[in-house]
Amino acid sequence: MSAMISIRDMLVTYDDFAALDHVSLDVEEGESFGIVGESGSGKSTLLRAVSGLAGFDSGTLTVAGKTYSGQSRTKEFYRTVQMVFQDPYGSLHPRQTVDRLLLEPLAIHGFTDVDVRIARALDEVGLGAGFRFRYSHQLSGGQRQRIAIARALILEPKILLLDEPTSALDASIQAEILNLLEQAKRDRGLTFVMVSHDLGVISHMCGRLAVMKSGKVVETVPAQALENREFSADYTRQLLVASEGFSRG
């Protein structure tokens, strides 16, 4: 069975610097795939290249059976793939109400039953109708991220790209958002590609993960491997040790 997302030899360069250095990976339908790395690893560049927000110089990208190149994407692509961004304070338009924010994707794709869909979207992310006409500066970080998720899900995509969706949130809010994401994935049979620097979050949410460093995939392991220490790369070990916190050694 062909993969939902298939990336072969993707190269992204800025001047002489290779942000993505011949990266290949596959994401199966219905799986939750994690990408872990530190800053400069290329993990966010990978998501942006898949989504079309950034172009790629060479390589192939196949999503749900269709091939895409550079930055050109079709409307069908946007109905299939959506993204949740990292910064809840930057990913919502500062001058628009929640209603307007959720209306936009529906209007672009020509949906007519907007009121029903908006109400349902708010409900799905655990926010009541009272939030519908608030402005984004009247919402907390967790609430904003819920709106961002509602916006991503309102077009009923099959694939959700998640760029560090909880890094900017408090720990207790993070738990709520992660639970919400899991619920949504279960209910809708989504495929997740989640980028994070936090091994705990990735191992909780994902079944398989790829470790990236300096634009390359170091290794791809099942999440179990982290627990059982069944990985091979040194860098993965370093990340694991670092995630365990400080110890006076």
Partner: protein
């Protein structure tokens, strides 16, 4: 959750509610918050009052003016000082009541200011946002065109245009508008470039929005407050430019009571009958001040860093 009584529409609680139940309530509520922020500034309120006064006078000039602004009594009422019977601010060299001329002249002032704003601001906004969002050669070309217009001193370019088109207040308006749009383009471009790479724009791109839609519906609203502030602050300058053109005889033509033209014709008598030139000068001063105070107040109130509601 306990049942909450519906709030009385347009009451203070309704306006400040953090759970608005309709688009209308949200919008009006936000406007109310901006108003509250604005009205804390006493000087800004003064500016607003002056401008509202100007508009009121312009509308009701025919009711308020005691005399005919264009026809005067040459024989009896030439160059009467302020405070003379029936002539509160005196008369000019053609026996016309200065107060009435000022009141009717407010219409011309308002005409100039509003038309220039209505022409120049949208042009600047469109050029700036397109330039800022598109980048590349579109940006380069549009900005060079803007630079060309900016390189000319405003008054000189306006003069040249009016000289070419012929004197008259409509041509003066056009000339001033042509020289006023470049700064708005610059502002709009700078704002657009700040937002161009924000995540909320990326999010909208990811929905499949066309660049046209993004610029029109997402970027332009963000440039609005800076632009409104800048236009308001510019209005004082526009009035002065129109007055300058009028002073040079290239704006409003006699006998129209345009304030700048009044100053020009009163120049001859400035030593002995100072009021003929000074009164319109004071009027220009007050209106310019009004626009400046209003613009300052708007800038504080429309600050995008809304520090809580």
């Amino acid at each position: 959750m306990s049942v909450v009584e519906p709030l009385k529409p347009y009451s203070r609680a309704w306006l400040l509610s953090d759970r608005p139940t309709s688009r209308h309530q949200a919008r009006v509520g936000r406007a109310y918050v901006v108003w509250r922020q604005f009205s804390e500034n006493r000087l800004a309120l003064l500016g607003l009052f002056i401008i509202l006064g100007l508009i009121f006078i312009a509308i009701f000039a025919n009711v308020l003016a005691p005399h005919n602004p264009v026809q005067g009594d040459l024989r009896n009422s030439r160059l009467l000082p302020p405070g003379s019977a029936g002539f509160l601010l005196g008369t000019d060299d053609q026996g016309r009541d200065i107060l009435s001329r000022l009141l009717y002249g407010s219409r011309l002032t308002l005409f100039v200011v509003v038309l220039v704003a209505v022409i120049a601001a949208p042009v600047g906004l469109i050029v700036g946002t397109v330039s800022g969002y598109a980048g590349g050669w579109v940006d380069a070309v549009l900005m060079r065109i803007t630079d060309i217009f900016l390189a000319f001193p405003k008054l000189v370019l306006a003069l040249a245009l009016v000289a070419a088109l012929g004197p008259g207040i409509e041509n003066a308006v056009l000339a001033i508008a042509v020289t006023s749009w470049p700064p708005y383009a610059r502002i709009a471009r700078a704002e657009t470039m700040t937002f161009r790479n924000s995540e909320f724009i990326s999010a909208v791109k990811l929905m499949g929005a066309s660049p046209f839609r993004i610029v029109l519906r997402h970027v332009m609203p963000l440039c609005m407050s800076s632009l409104i502030v800048r236009v308001t602050l510019d209005m004082a300058g526009i009035i002065l430019t129109a007055a300058g053109l009028g002073f040079l005889g290239l704006g409003a033509q006699p006998p129209l009571p345009e304030w700048g033209a009044m100053i020009a014709s009163g120049r001859r008598f400035i030593l002995d009958q100072w009021w003929v030139a000074a009164m319109p000068g004071i009027a220009i001063l007050i209106v310019s001040l009004g626009f400046n105070l209003l613009g300052d107040g708007l800038r504080d109130a429309l600050d995008p860093k809304e520090a809580g509601q």
